[in-house]
């Protein structure tokens, strides 16, 4: 895991001091809200419906037990005993007081965490595969590259005043677990013609009011040109991005308006101009970073099996089926801790649970945890021999729900219960759907089915790429919900299609059930919901929904 060097720590500490002074000046009246707002947003501090909210960066979703324990401390001391994992691998705390925000940032800095660039028109947290470094299917570890990009983009003077926010995702597997193609730049580690691992580059993905899947810009980029090529992309956008209209300012609009071919031509032209003066690639820094992501000291010669006596427990067996994944090291497994218990709020986690996960990570997972964009937590390196003990500890804390990628593993934004941008509540809809399909056998029968819910068109709940998506809208002061079908945030990325007129809260839950029942009628053996939808098309489902 990456450890701050002197420069990292000085940068973060200086930022805390700077924000403390900005906050003091705001409270003293030396800064107006209009002057202060962009400053607090650059430090992740929003003003939401009920109080301030602080979004803490979790770079590429990676945390240590010490860091998670600090998040638990912040939840208990400064919030109301809980935090919320976001759909971009960060953690946010509601109920924050402005006057305490600098103290929180100072406490975070002591464990190498911060809230820099978690909001505002900046390059946001770098997303990556939550199975990175553990997955059996990755060709290389993407985290050293993600950390290099994090360092390069933090406070980069050329890219600090963009037309809009900018999101980068990095993956190294054919299985996209980070919704990469919904990002402004999607980087995938791939082998080049000579076998050297470089990057496949897609640009212009995004959700929001105008969703797009990212377009292929370069099938292979030699690794030593990564930073200059990203710079070329951002320069083209910085030059031609629509600063006159916030709704058209994202790079996805520019890529769409120019067309992928012309956008690519301009990027390549810009890049060629840059190459003669391209700074030397920081190989020494990459090497310094990479050492810190060396594999943990795995034991060798372990049995690659699970104790059959323990696996005879049906509840444990269910959890093994849905929450435990293949690890590249024999004798080890990857564990996903679901934060979607029955009746719970997706992504919410109590201070006690945060501290427990910190303990369990230290005991069972080489002190590593990951947050996922699906609002769950991963313990990446667990001995198979320890799985039963781990499961028992999780179960005692309400953290052993066996539902990863099932119908009740719903991605959902905070919605109108918390968010000042939302038009409708989204959490209650998720809770009602999860309750409707609570029966485990029913969930298992349905198989992989990804429901994603947003409380407004900004699409933080990723509804555009849900197998089933739900969008909350305001219809004359009343909550109304549009239903969408056929999206995917995985390697087979696709945008969902709106079915038709919207529903009230209970109506959309019924419509989801009718959709799923139609799937059960139409599916062939082993066919996922999304596969059936793609095979039979939209109309049979629309007919089931509206009659």
């Amino acid at each position: 895991m990456y450890k701050y060097d002197r420069f990292d720590q000085e940068i973060v500490d200086a930022r805390v001091d700077e924000f403390r002074d900005q906050t003091r000046r705001r409270i003293a009246g030396e800064l107006s809200e209009d002057q202060f707002k962009p400053l607090r947003l650059k430090n992740g501090l929003y003003l939401q419906l009920h109080a301030y909210m602080l979004r803490v960066a979790v770079p590429y979703g990676m945390m240590s037990g010490r860091q998670l324990r600090m998040l638990g401390h912040i939840a208990r001391t400064y919030s109301r005993d809980y935090g919320h994992f976001t759909t971009r691998q960060n953690m946010q705390f509601h109920w924050i007081k402005l006057e305490q925000a600098p103290d929180i940032l100072a406490e975070l800095a002591t464990v190498e965490m911060h809230a820099i660039q978690t909001s505002g028109e900046s390059i946001r947290n770098i997303s990556s595969d939550h199975f990175a470094g553990a997955a059996a299917d990755e060709i290389a570890d993407p985290r050293p590259w993600a950390e290099l990009i994090r360092q390069w983009t933090t406070f980069h003077p050329e890219f600090s005043y963009f037309p809009r926010k900018f999101k980068i995702a990095l993956t190294a597997s054919d299985n996209d677990r980070v919704a990469a193609l919904s990002h402004d730049i999607a980087l995938k580690l791939v082998p080049g013609p000579d076998g050297e691992i470089g990057f496949c580059v897609h640009v212009g993905g995004g959700m929001g009011r105008t969703p797009f899947i990212a377009k292929l810009v370069r099938p292979y980029l030699p690794p030593q040109h990564l930073l200059s090529y990203i710079a070329a992309i951002m320069r083209v956008w910085n030059r031609y991005g629509r600063r006159d209209n916030i709704h058209k300012a994202r790079i996805k609009i520019l890529v769409h308006d120019l067309g992928a071919e012309e956008f690519t031509r301009q990027v390549e032209e810009e890049w060629q101009l840059m190459l003669p003066t391209e700074p030397p690639f920081p190989q020494a820094e990459l090497d310094r970073i990479a050492v810190q992501f060396a594999p943990p000291p795995f034991e060798t010669g372990l049995a690659d099996t699970i104790d059959p006596a323990a696996a005879a427990d049906p509840a444990f067996a269910r959890w093994l089926t849905h929450n435990v994944h293949a690890h590249r090291q024999p004798g080890y497994a990857i564990v996903t801790v679901s934060l979607k218990p029955p009746g719970g709020i997706p992504g919410d986690i109590t201070a006690d649970q945060l501290e427990l996960l910190a303990d369990l990570a230290e005991r069972y997972a080489f002190d590593e945890l990951r947050s996922t964009h699906a609002q769950n937590v991963v313990l990446p390196h667990v001995r198979k021999a320890d799985l039963h003990a781990l499961w028992q500890a999780l179960d005692a804390a309400g953290l052993a729900t066996a539902n990863v990628d099932l119908v009740s593993d719903i991605i959902v934004c905070p919605g109108l219960d918390y968010c000042s941008l939302a038009n409708a509540r989204s959490i209650p809809v998720a809770q009602k759907i999860a309750d409707r399909f609570a029966d485990y056998d029913r969930q298992k029968d349905l198989g992989e089915l990804k429901i994603k819910i947003s409380g407004c068109i900004n699409a933080c709940g990723h509804h555009h790429v849900g197998h089933i998506g739900i969008l909350g809208v305001d219809r004359k002061g009343t909550e109304n919900y549009q239903l969408l079908l056929g999206g995917s945030g995985a390697e087979d990325a696709a945008l969902a299609k709106i079915t038709g007129p919207g529903f009230d809260e209970d109506g959309v839950v019924d419509a989801v059930e009718r959709t799923i029942e139609r799937y059960r009628q139409l599916r062939t053996e082993g066919e996922r919901f999304l596969d059936t939808y793609r095979r039979v098309g939209f109309e049979p489902f629309k007919e089931a929904i509206y009659g």
Binding site: E33, L47, Q48, L49, H50, L98, E99, I345, D417, P428
Partner: protein, 98 residues
């Protein structure tokens, strides 16, 4: 009726104009009619409120009820966490929002 609402600068808590001061409780809010703008300007300048706004509400026997659900949720708290609302002991509080 028209209400004045905003957030407390230091805590971020939702507040309502009572005619003399700011309260956490919408029941204390008063109808400002067409006179809201100068009050907001004065109070914001004094930093007694942040991001103030004038909103529509309906007078009820139990006090003002904001016209839009967003402001009713602001007035009460998150409907999905009754324990964190201003009326944690009232099982019917959520019904007031919907």
């Amino acid at each position: 009726m028209k209400l004045l609402t905003g957030n407390d600068l230091k805590s971020g808590a939702v507040t309502w104009w009572t005619g003399q001061d700011w309260s956490l409780h919408v029941e204390d809010a008063v109808d400002v009619g067409e006179h809201g703008e100068p009050i907001l300007a004065r109070e914001e300048a004094l930093r007694r409120v942040n991001t103030p706004a004038i909103i529509d509400a309906v007078a009820t026997p139990d006090g003002p009820r904001p016209a839009h659900i967003k402001h009713r949720i602001r007035a009460l708290g998150p409907t999905v966490r009754p324990d964190l609302t201003l009326k944690p002991a009232d099982p019917d509080a959520g019904g007031w929002v919907i």
